[in-house]
Amino acid sequence: MIEAVSLTKIYNQQKPNQVLAVTDANLSAPNGAITVLVGPSGCGKTTLMSMIGLLLTPTKGKVIIDEEVVTSYSDNWKAIFRRKNMGFVFQHINLFPHLKALENVMIPLLCHDMDPAKFKDQALSLLERLGLAERALFNVEQLSGGQQQRVAVARALITEPKIIIADEPLTFIDQESAKAIIDFFNELRSEGKTILISTHSYNLAKLADRIYSMKDGAIVGETEKEGARLFNIYIK
């Protein structure tokens, strides 16, 4: 279970250009479920996701994962926690452009005490599941945006993390890739992964076991299973 307790992020605090990005956000994402964050652009979804993923230090509040207050630990501890437990899919995809698709997938293994070569088959298997088996040895620059995002999804899963954090993963991609990723997230949930997604996509939000809606940096709504309806209301 991931719990966000009163998470607040203020950029440039006590400066003229101070920005209140997220205010007092409370959220809980059950294990083995898909939790979705929805809201308009600039409402603070990415900032909240980053704080939950330990990529950004909150100004206030805490993140509790499986009853452990993970935000209270050192930078190094958080890095090791991410290494062992989390996989990220970013809105801007964020692959290494100079590497092949397969190499990108295997990058997170480099900071583990293991031989990445032994995980090559696993990486290929992930790419195959995402429909990219034949593109494994392509440079990422030769792939479409959708294919690149599918590579990023495979990268997030190569270390078999129990938590997947996906920040607007479908923003810049085509329908075919979006469908592949949505189906894949569905499979991951059935495998017991805890998945946290921010999205504008109705199809992706339909998967949600729980939905939170955000507006102006605050969580303004929460629902379970009825998320699709709430999302429908929101996008109208």
């Binding site: 950004l56 290494r83 964020n94 900071c111 990268r155």
Partner: protein
Amino acid sequence: MKGRHMNLLSYALNCIYRYKVRTVVILVCLVTSAAVFSSVAFLKDGLVKEGELSLKYAPDITVQQIWAGRPTLIETSYVGYIQEMAGTISVIPRIWGYANVGNILLVIMGIDIDNMFFDPKETFPMEEGSFLSPETPNSVVLGKAVADILGVRVGNTLTILTESVTPIQYQVVGIFNSEANIYNADMILMNIDDARLFFEIPENLATDIAVYVWDPQLVNNVARDIGELQNLRVVTKDIILKAQETTYGARSGFFSVLWYIVLISVAITAFNQTVVVGHESKFEVGLLKALGFSTSDIIEIRLMESAILGVIAGSFGITFGIIYDRVFNAPIFRDFMLGWVTLYPNFTLPIHISASTIFLIYVITILPLLFATVIPSWINATVDPDIAMRGARA
């Protein structure tokens, strides 16, 4: 843990390959500066070493007569007086000076073969021929450079004009074998009587007096006692050695300064690449941290990158420095370090390659690069990954 370090090493190698322009710029600058420094350092070490070798059999004390503040011939009557001082074991008058042979200024040294304190055959190994003997007057042994320049070999006859422009013929009986020995390369060695005749120095005078002391710790005492005699200048072996070290050290120091300037430029370039134009690098650090790399992992990668570049540059620099000295005989630096290049254009420079100098070159080649690349990466790595990635993207 070994596996993780190997993985980080492979990533560091990938970075070196990926940032080609930065790698090439840093390597070119570092190799150049390391080559210059290596060449000068090996040359300086070689000259100092050569000086030490030449002084191995040099007298512990050399005594000169001073007249009107300038060195002049010394009376041999001092020999007996000095010999009575406590601590001396051998006091020998020497005749030596300079002479023009074929427009080249050479040293003519006369030695008293019968009263040598050491075995000259061991001290001066021969490439060709034999050493001087008291039975063969008007014979000479030549330094390698002299023989090469004059084009004479053992068995040839050499004609040299004396002080009174009288030609005297000498039989070449041997040639020293140490090509690199700058202290006998330009020397013509002969019996002391022949030298006395050549320089037209009377029996009661000598160029200087060589004093050997049985205990090195007594050298200063003996020197002080001799110095109490009026109008004598006393030079100990240590003073000569220190003078050599100071001279070559100062000259090589000049190049060291130039080398540091180049090295600082490299460091600034590397720093600039990492910080100012390093948005890609900043983003990379943020992303790696998001993927689970810790700050220490990032620093380790940059350390490895810098160390690899430094070792490559240092190795090539040292190699080029040796080639420059050995194969090309160090043009430019040779003029500066020796100061008498016009004398022996074909003279082979002595270079000395020591482990300590090589270690020093590696250390000071790698360290500035480490600071220039690791510090910015450390700064990037200590901010939140989200901030690093957003900042780089902005």
